[in-house]
Subunit: 271 residues, 2 copies
């Protein structure tokens, strides 16, 4: 049977989501803990909505796993409580339940919402907030950043902002890209797309920061978008400013069809 | 001349405010950095509004220091910028300026505002928020905690909630003690007093938590307040939930008089 897992983590201490030999990753830590609390002989394996890079955080990450029916029948009720005791304090599972039929954490998802957090206060970041905020020493013009952002919204080939993978499409639909200034120098980008390619959010943010600092014009971002390969002029921003906030799924009746069509139209790895 | 310093820190990596040989403290880190950016032969020495314990955080801490006029004349303009480059990322100076006449960071202060942050979500704390929030595994009844809190507000001898010091008064005026429930299991205590004795906030919070968990009645807190010495029945809560948010001063014309009267009526160490 399939379980849906809702989780969050501070990415600072993890080498990203995906398992890698000898490294502490979110996937391996969660997979091992699930085996423990469900009394499985081996980690059950995970599929995730957004494969976050090293240092990237998540608040509303979603994964699924397939486990034997009897393991869930015997240990399911106590599993969430046991996880809260077993997991390290930089990783939290907030919900664990039977997935509806046709659910696939990765391919059923209709959109992913990320936030990128910057601070341009000349005195630096509030130390208590520094885990998920990147200090930008130069002041940023948020209106100019929004003018740049507006040119990226819509369905485009984002190849200029992505690490290319063989055979994988880099066409994505960017639904929202908005910059907002908060208190104490905090500046947040709200970024929503059907899915993201590798490095895409951090590259888009880097392009907007170049505009916000006055090094580039807003129109330059549109020029980059029309380039036919990864652009060397775009800075990839540091991972610690990026948080996966939410993954959206369609109504249960459409989960299976959505997964089928996403598999058909997208290749490679979703983020 | 006297400088007023406004600062904040993540207390996790410091052995408290006060200098101690061989330990990393906020006072020694800041004092050394001031000497560096003002080109002083020795650390100038600091007086602080709230002497926080090891692990306690601050967002609106205030301190003062006395420095030679020529050092400030030569290096004052660039000092704040230089501090932002020199200080570690768990300590931030947000303002540095000439203090008004009669200003004493400790004795001129009219009130201190602290927040204590708890989370009673059964699944634990959002990992990104864990620096300044304490997980309480048992659910808390905020209405009962506020009923308990109401009995402590006002001018009282808080000796039952304090580490006693010889010759120091433990009479304080608790101006505000309010519990509020936020999202995702977050529960915050807003605590304001003219000044606090050692351990006072964390002991008061511990008493309220005992009530919130249903282990004690709200009236019990009033009984503790009437005890004539430190109560062994009150739990001192962990330091990482506590943040000094703000220190309030009177109008400039009253700074000196306020400092004189506070020195007269209070002994020992203010927090």
């Amino acid at each position: 049977m399939r379980l849906r897992i809702d989780l969050g983590y501070d990415g600072s201490g993890f080498s990203g989501w995906a398992k890698q030999p000898g490294l502490r990753t979110v996937e391996s830590t969660l997979d091992d803990s699930l085996a423990k609390v469900l009394r499985l002989p081996e980690p059950p394996g995970l599929t995730v909505a957004g494969r976050t890079d090293a240092g990237v955080h998540a608040r509303g990450q979603v994964a699924h796993t397939d486990v034997p029916l009897d393991a869930w029948a015997q240990n399911g009720e106590r599993a969430l409580y046991r996880l809260s005791r077993v997991l390290p304090d930089d990783l939290r599972v907030v919900a664990l339940c039977e997935a509806p039929p046709g659910f696939d954490a990765r391919f059923s998802a209709t959109s992913r919402r990320y936030t990128y957090r910057l601070c341009d206060a000349p005195v630096g970041i509030d130390p208590i907030r520094r885990l998920d905020v990147v200090w930008n020493r130069r002041p940023l013009d948020v209106a100019a950043m929004n003018a740049a952002a507006a040119q990226l919204v819509g369905e485009h080939d984002f190849v200029a902002f992505c690490k290319r993978r063989e055979g994988a499409s880099t066409v994505r639909t960017l639904l929202t890209l908005e910059w907002r200034r908060g208190v104490d120098g905090l500046i947040e980008a709200l970024v929503v797309a059907d899915a993201f390619c590798h490095n895409m959010v951090r590259s888009i943010v880097g392009a907007c920061v170049a505009v916000g600092e006055g090094r580039r014009s807003p129109e330059w971002v549109g020029d980059v978008l029309r380039e036919a390969e990864r652009s060397s002029s775009v800075m990839v921003m540091p991972p610690q400013g990026l948080t996966l906030e939410e993954v959206t799924y369609p109504p249960d009746a459409e989960l299976a069809e959505r997964a089928r069509s996403a598999r058909r139209f997208r290749g490679g790895v979703s983020r």
